[in-house]
Amino acid sequence: MADKNFTPDLSVKFAGKIYSPNPFWLASAPPTNCGEQVMRAFDAGWGGAVWKTLGDPIVNVSSRYSSVDWNGQRMMGLNNIELITDRPLDVNLREISEVKKRYPKQAVIASLMVESKREAWHKIVQQTEDAGADGLELNFGCPHGMSERGMGSAVGQVPEYTQMITEWVKEKARTPVLVKLTPNISDIRVVARAAKRGGADGLSAINTINSITGIDLDTFVPRPNVDGKSSHGGYCGPAVKPIALNLVQQVQGDAEASLPLSGIGGISDWRDATEFLLLGCSNVQVCTAVMHYGYRIVEDMADGLSNWMREKGFATIADFRGKSLQNVQEWKHLNLNYKIVARIHEEKCIGCELCYTACWDGAHQCIHLDRVGAKGGGHMTPAMREANSRQSIAMTPIPKLDHALAGNGNEPYATPLARIPRVDEDECVGCNLCSLVCPVEDCITMEQVETHLAAQSWEQRMGDASNPARKCD
């Protein structure tokens, strides 16, 4: 075992140039709207901040946000129609200078968005670098409002524009240039490659996803409501993490696109952050979780990551960065001869029967409730089972009236045997669904079954002309 008594080093140097004491940056968004906020964020422990996008000041609408709640949890996903900064450029620049003076160790990145003119980009690059920004992030991702004016995702959706503007910026920039990618495109790699061709030093991904979060069923107006109308917005928060991870992997798995990458998308805690780092991100950016709970969440992000690194014996972020990339393959390379089946651990089962109904209605009808009673009980459909229960006669147990009805006390498990499902392992395809719906930790585990067959992928099977499976197509 590795020595667990070291202090892991969380610091990172993005693109070899931008130092931050930990990999946790605030994304360009409301939490980085002004200097006072950014300084409080740094006091709380954030390693860097990407300033709310600078450009020609705009006018915002009211209201601006809407969210998706799930099963009583608030803000599983957040949507916004807010534009870039609405503060004068000189005020933002002055505050950037002041923050950098007071917090020299934390990274301050300026997010930029101006009209698609070379001089405009040159000018703002010069101004922000003069103010002391450690790097620049080109906002080619914002999907709402600004895109209607030819900026944001209107640039990021066209590889040629992305490359052209990146080139203009690089003509002038002295600090590293990151291009922020939009997910609202069919193949994110095409734009990432264009940014790389344009000379970008790094990428950040993903920006928000086009969304309509919901519609008020009384007024028929989608949210957020702006005087009886709405507009599509940018979706973020925990709901988008799986999409972001996939897009990050696509970029990092592509040699022509791959660059130092700042991972963004639904990161709420240290585990989310670690997953992005494992897919090759150099650092991560956070917004929604801070909008929900405040800057203080960074404490556990750093603490949790440190503890995990100590547990795993990783001294630096570089020790594990990208470690999972090799484990993402195309489907055709997966082993067809690998077999797992579900095992229900009876002593943990609480008898909710969610696995049973999930397998019957949503999977392969191989979980049965036939441990008690006549053989062939497995042929009863779920509807027949429920009908039986409804026809049973139940009474309130009253001890003095019910002396004869005491339980037999011979049940082997806490849950009545009749309610503990049984897996037909011959029929089980190892899909995982039952273990996903089971509310009890480790009650249903997926166990490997020895097939005595050598590993073989679809590609290998199709490439082998002697294989009878070939004849099927």
Binding site: G72, I350, C352, L354, S389, I393, A394, M395, L401, A414
Partner: protein, 446 residues
Amino acid sequence: MSTAQKYEPNLELAARFPEIHPPFDQVSAVTEANRCLYCFDAPCMAACPTHIDVPRFIKKIAQGNLRGSALTILDANILGASCARVCPVDVLCEGACVFHRYNKQPIEIGRLQRHAMDAFWRDGAKLERKALAERPGRVACIGAGPASLSFAAEMRMQGFRVTVFERKPLPGGLNTYGVAEYKLRSSDSLREIELVRSLGVEFRFGEDVGSEVALSKLEQDYDFIFLGIGLGRMRELDVPGGKHAGVVDALQFIADYKTGGKLTVGRRVAVVGAGNTAIDAARAALRLGANEVRMLYRRDESSISAFLLEYEQAREEGVRFHWWTQPVEVVASKDSSRVEAIQCVRTEMDSRGELQMLRESRFAISCDMVIPAIGQLPLLEFLNGCRGVKVDGGRVIVDRATGQTSNPKYFAGGDCVNGGREVVDAVADGKRTALAVAKMLEKLHG
């Protein structure tokens, strides 16, 4: 159609008996509803005598379909509102919750059910009948307690004509007269019965149909007769002084404060017995202002018939329990104007497991009111005259699946059949019987 006596809610009563299970607010109801796992073939549903589809109604609360939730409840149990308040849920639905096996608090099913039902009433309590057409066939119910109400509601739902005969001035049986007010207010019971009436059930109050003549008339006028007569009066405290005016049986005491406007109680009260009704009376006595409430029971706490939770709550509220204590005499003052004490002896279990009174251990407990709560007697005088309906041990014998008695014209359910259980058991009996009777009426009238 004769109408129920007008019931005026008593403000002082309401102030003295705040509800013991406060309602959820909207947010906490949804939060609680979202904890529900939505078990398949859920144990809570099986444990409920009326088989309310608990996960379904809870899911509907979580999903903002409160009317659908209430209708899911009412479809199984027309008295879903009162059951939400009075059911001993810890031995029924909540007791069956799978979370007990997962170190988690069971879902608060009773309070969620109340949440849905409260919304139903806020929304105007509109309930449509399943069969809008009138169908040939008439049935009568004797007694307007939960069993009859449930039977009558289901018969009307299916389009048959129902008349409920009740000798008391108000309907609802124990729901109106006998359930502790802090659990179920009489006004809420009566509101719920208005829902049953709105389906077209005819009520006739103040009519005693127990005589041979009245019964044979009913048999001519109706195809079938449902006996929902409950149990009879409470057992008397059979000791010297037991008939003193300061000795009031628990059901009388409860009915007096709930519907009789009698909000007075002794300063020092001795309740005899340790069943749920005894506990209800003891806790009511505290609320009405008694300084001291003692419960006397001839065995110990392991033998009480009260539900554990009821017993624990009574203790927390300050009721004092005297185990192995058997009353032998109620002692009145010299001018016999008031009770002064109850004389008791100690009891013990002998080596053969039989309870023995220790005669020489006589001692007095001072009190100015005695409330016996030692069980209800069967309505034997009624049942014995009831047209060959077989009775065993004070209970009407029925076919469990249909509720039919030994006289095929008569059906029965509720306390007169089960010996005295819960509202929900009576509702289940009434509904099950109604479904069977409906089939028979279809056969009878084609």
